[in-house]
Every structure is written in C-alpha cells, then in structure tokens.
C-alpha cells in the first residue's frame, strides 16, 4: 500500500528536553492526518522535521518514499509548508510574495506569475494583490501564507496550527480550502489544539502529549471512546453538588465528575442524559447556577486519556463553535 508520509521511531531533543520521543505513524495518500495536542507536545517539531528544516536525532521519516534527511532536496519539491506564523514578507505585495515563493520553488518566472494570480483569486485576495502584506488583516495574512505554501502544487501539505488566532469566518474559509486541497488529491498533515478542527477535517487523528502519541484513531472512534457530549453543571454549593452526583447516578445511571461546585458528565448519549438530568433536577427542586452542553474539547480528550488536564485554561481554549454545534 502506498504511503504519503511515514514516520518511524522519530526522536528529537533540545538539550535535556525530548520534544519528540519515539513517534511512529503512517499517512495514506489523499487523506488528512491530524496531530492534536497542547503547546509543547511536539507537533511543530514533527512538522519541521518532515519539512526538512530540522534533522531528527534518531528514527527516520519519509515523504512519498523520499528520506527527509538524505533526500531533503527531492522532498522539498514535493511539499508545501504553512507554519504557525505567517511567513510572508510584509514589504512585498500579496502578488510579489506568491511570485517569490514560486520562483524559489523553481517554477519558471512566467509560471510563477500565473500561479500567483490564480491563487490570489482562489484565496479571495485579488483586490489586495497589489497592496503590501503589511496592510493585510490577520486572516488575509494567513490565507496568503497558505497560498504561498501551495504555489508549487505540492502533493503533501503541512499546515501547522493553520487556524490559531483566526476569527470564525476566516477559519471556516480555511477549512473549506483544506477540504478542496484534499479533494484534488493532496495529502495534508495538520496540527491543531482543537478537537473540533481535527474532527471536522482529519481522517485520522494522533493525540500527542509530551513528545509521544498517546492515542491514534479516526475522530469518530476517539470521540466514541470519550463520550460525544459534555454536560457541565454548576451548583450553588458543594453540599448540593454532592447531592446531585448521587441523584444523577440513581436517575440516569451516569457518573458525574465533581470539582468543588462544578459537575462534568461525559456521555455518548448526550440528548437523553441532558433531558433526564434536567427532569431529575426539576423534580427535586434544584436550580443549577449554570448548565452548559458542549462537544468534548482537547482538555476532555486529555482528561480521558491521561487523567491530567492540559496546562492551558481548559474549556475557554476550545473554539466557540464547539458550544454551538448540533
């Protein structure tokens, strides 16, 4: 079976810190592979090794059968990289940035120029084509950056946290572009801190923690493992919270995790649990201070897989649509 990306026993350390600590995975051509994890879990280091920017200390990695260390130059003809920070020259116009990327990707000048205008059109930047990138909004810069990664029509595209810091609209647009890329046959490796994003885009997801992959599966399977819906209830005091835990165990059969006055219920059958919870609270005359229903966040994944919270603030970190979905 052909493999677009193959990573075997990959290790990279910076001094004492093992950023990547023995990672293996394969990515099938024409699919999206999501690396999901908090800051510092090693996602970006893997991308940088695959993009030939960093050399691994041990293990190996191949892109379309070419070794990223020994055949780095060949690999570079096949890949496109959009890193965490928009890698564009603020003094050049949008069109100039893309033409430069194209020329440096060894396209003939005329082809690079045509390609630049195609991409500007495709990424809705035509009107801003001749303005310096300095004047672009954050969303425009990111679109230009992703466009620059695509000038040479790469077969394998690395997107390192492509939507971090983007507003909802820009993020949805970018998601749409990533789907188009894949529809046209590209293989995409995407890193993200958002389960929502991995769920929407990826065919397979690897969850990373401290340089290791702690779970790898389809998003559906991962979510099934976690429970589809998270219900959060906050009560007026701890005594009442303890009472509600017991009440829910009897009435609905679910176990709620209690943290002071807050309860958290993770269930694959969210609608039923929500209805039964509300009914049960109502029958007992308990009015919760807040009641939230949301998709599982990265933090829930971590809580479930490692029993530890991610270092970042938990639920606020999840994208807003996480709450609004379904």
């Amino acid at each position: 079976m052909p493999v677009a990306i193959r990573v075997e026993g990959l290790v990279k350390h910076f001094g004492e810190v093992y950023a990547v600590d023995g990672v293996d995975f394969d990515v099938a051509p024409g699919t999206v592979f999501g690396l999901l994890g908090p800051n510092g879990s090693g996602k970006t280091t893997i991308v940088r090794i695959l993009a030939t920017i960093l050399r691994p200390d041990a293990g190996r990695a191949e892109v379309l059968g070419r070794d990223v260390v020994h055949q780095a130059d060949e690999v570079r003809y096949l890949i496109g990289l959009a890193g965490q920070f928009a890698a564009i020259d603020p003094n050049l116009t949008g069109a100039e940035n893309l033409r430069l990327s194209g020329r440096l990707a060894q396209l003939p000048g005329r082809v690079a120029k045509e390609r630049a205008y195609e991409l500007l059109d495709r990424f809705q930047l035509s009107e801003a084509a001749d303005r310096t990138a300095r004047t672009y909004s954050g969303g425009m810069r990111r679109r230009l950056d992703v466009a620059a990664a695509l000038v040479q029509r790469p077969a394998v595209v690395f997107l390192d946290e492509p939507t971090t810091g983007l507003d909802l609209h820009s993020r949805n647009e970018l998601w749409e572009m990533i789907r188009e890329l894949v529809a046209e046959g590209a293989t995409v490796l995407l890193t993200t801190q958002y389960l929502e994003e991995a769920d929407r885009l990826a065919d397979r997801v690897a969850v990373m923690s401290m340089g290791k992959i702690i779970a790898a599966d389809t998003p559906a399977a991962l979510k099934a493992q976690l429970g589809n819906t998270v219900l959060e209830i906050r009560l007026k005091d701890e005594a009442e919270a303890v009472r509600v835990v017991q009440l829910l165990a009897r009435a609905t059969g679910v176990t709620a995790d209690r943290e002071e006055t807050a309860l958290r219920i993770s269930s694959p059958d969210g609608t039923r649990v929500l209805l039964e919870t509300v009914r049960s609270l109502n029958e007992n005359g308990i009015a919760p201070t807040t009641l939230t229903v949301r998709e599982p966040s990265l933090d829930d994944v971590f809580l479930s897989l490692t029993g530890q919270r991610t270092s970042a603030a938990p639920t606020e970190d999840a994208p807003e649509v996480g709450r609004a979905r379904r």
Binding site: R48, I53, L64, D73, L100, L104, Q106, T132, A148, R153
Partner: protein
C-alpha cells in the same frame, strides 16, 4: 485549475540547472531585499543621512583640531576615504538586522522548506547590500565634492578605490549576516554588532592619523582591516604608494569572505 499535483515522480527532474540555481535564487531573494529599500524609505534614509552627518561633523566640527602637521594635504581629502569605508561598515549591520528579523518572522522557515539553494537567502541579502552600497558610495562622493573633496589622482584610481570599498563592504555583509543568524533577533543583533563595529571604525585611520594615537593603540589601529582598507582607498584617492596597500586590503576582504561566507551558510543550514 488545481491546487496540487498528484504526480509525485516528475518534479525532481524540473531542475536540470543545479549549477545556476544558487545564482537564480540569490537574484530572486535579493530583489526582495532591494524592494524593501524602496518601500521602507527609513532604511535608506538611515544608511544615507547618517554618513552625511559624519561628513559634516568631521569636516566642520572635529576637522579643525586634527593636527595639520601629520597630514600633508587638506583634511577633507584625508577624511573622505575614511568616510567611504566607515559608511560600508555601518551599513553592513543592516544584514544582521534584516536576517534576524526574517528568522524571527518565520520567513526563513518557509525558505528552508523550499527547494532553493541553501546559500541564496544570504547571497541575495549580500547582493542587495552591494547594490545599496554602490548607491551610497556614489552619494558620498557627491557629498564629499560639495564639502571640498577633490579627485587628486584621477577617475580610474577613484573607481578602483570605490571597488575596494565595495569589496570590503561585501565581505562585511557576510560577517553581519552570520551575526544576524547567530543572535536571532534584531535587538540582540544590533547590540552584538556595535561593540565589534565601534573599535574597528573609531580606533582606525578613518578619521585621524594613527600616529596621533597612544603607542599601545597604534599597533592595533594600524593593522586592523578598516585601517588597512582606508589606507589603500586613501592611497588611490590622494596618491602615494598603492600596490602594497591595495594588495593587503584585498587580502583582508577575501580572507574575511573565505571565513565568514561558509560560516554564515553553515549557520543558515543549522539555524532553528
């Protein structure tokens, strides 16, 4: 139109021109740096206004106290060769600031993932600096002329002097390119460059005769590369023995290039 190609075996054959790739890529990368001079006038203003101030300051403020007995010709003719060299030394710091900015912005990450020559980012940057130096050198000759500098030997000798200045400036661009890649951010790059630059420029024969300095300083001041280059440029401008001076100056520049060129490229490959 498609965003990507699914044919995965063809592209490597796209460059039967491995040998010309470093030059083509340097031109592409260098044009980016030149456009910056055009678009961000403050960059060019900094590199031009500052030397003009030096000319005026040394010509009219300090020039009067420089002992005339040590210089057998007008001070302005002594000063301008020093200014030509000093200008390129100060200008070269732009390479450190520019490259550390690119490193910080993530632009070099993208470049290093592209199938471009590993020396092209540096080749382009130093090429752009060279073009800027041609412009600045011409401007300095004009400013010098306005304050009394005169061609004493001839136009060919003056052009030879300018070539020497440009060669020295080009070599220094590579030094500061390496500094920029090593420091990794513009503020540190500037802070790291100044303590190196200041003694080279001021403890030199650029503005005053070395013989006016204390003995312990003379040994350094007479033989360091700025003084050697200034001596050669001055010999070409005002006359005097040129062969040895010029040979020494060229040797310094080529020596600096031979060490810092490969060092900077190595640093570029490794910088993270």
């Amino acid at each position: 139109m498609s965003l990507v190609t699914t044919i995965v075996d063809a592209p490597v054959l796209r460059h039967p021109y491995r040998l010309i790739r470093p030059f083509r890529d340097s031109l592409s990368a260098g044009s980016r740096n030149l456009i910056a001079y055009w678009r961000v006038p403050s960059l060019l203003v900094f590199t031009t206004i500052q030397p003009v101030i030096f000319v005026l300051m040394f010509r009219y403020v300090f020039g009067g106290v420089v002992s005339v007995s040590l210089i057998p010709y007008p001070y302005v003719d002594f000063l301008m060769p020093g200014i030509f060299v000093q200008t390129t030394v100060f200008g070269a710091i732009g390479a450190a600031i520019g490259l550390s900015t690119d490193l910080q912005s993530g632009l070099l990450e993208r470049f290093r993932s592209l199938p471009m020559s590993r020396s092209a980012v540096l080749g382009g940057r130093t090429l752009a600096d060279l073009v800027r130096n041609v412009f600045v050198a011409a401007l300095m000759v004009g400013v010098g002329y306005a304050v009394g500098f005169r061609i004493r030997v001839g136009v060919p000798a003056l052009l030879a002097a300018m070539l020497l200045v440009l060669l020295f400036g080009y070599a220094l661009s590579w030094v500061f390119a390496a500094v920029g890649l090593m420091t990794g951010n513009p503020e540190t790059a500037q802070a790291a460059a100044f303590p190196v630059m200041a003694p080279l420029v001021f403890a030199s024969s650029a503005f005053v005769p070395v013989s006016s300095m204390p003995g312990w300083l003379q040994a350094f001041a007479a033989h360091q590369p700025v003084s050697v280059t200034v001596a050669a440029v001055r010999a070409l401008c005002v006359g005097g023995p040129t062969a040895t001076n010029v040979a020494e100056a060229v040797a310094w520049s080529l020596g600096i290039l031979a060490i810092f060129g490969p060092l900077a490229v190595l640093r570029y490959r490794r910088s993270t």
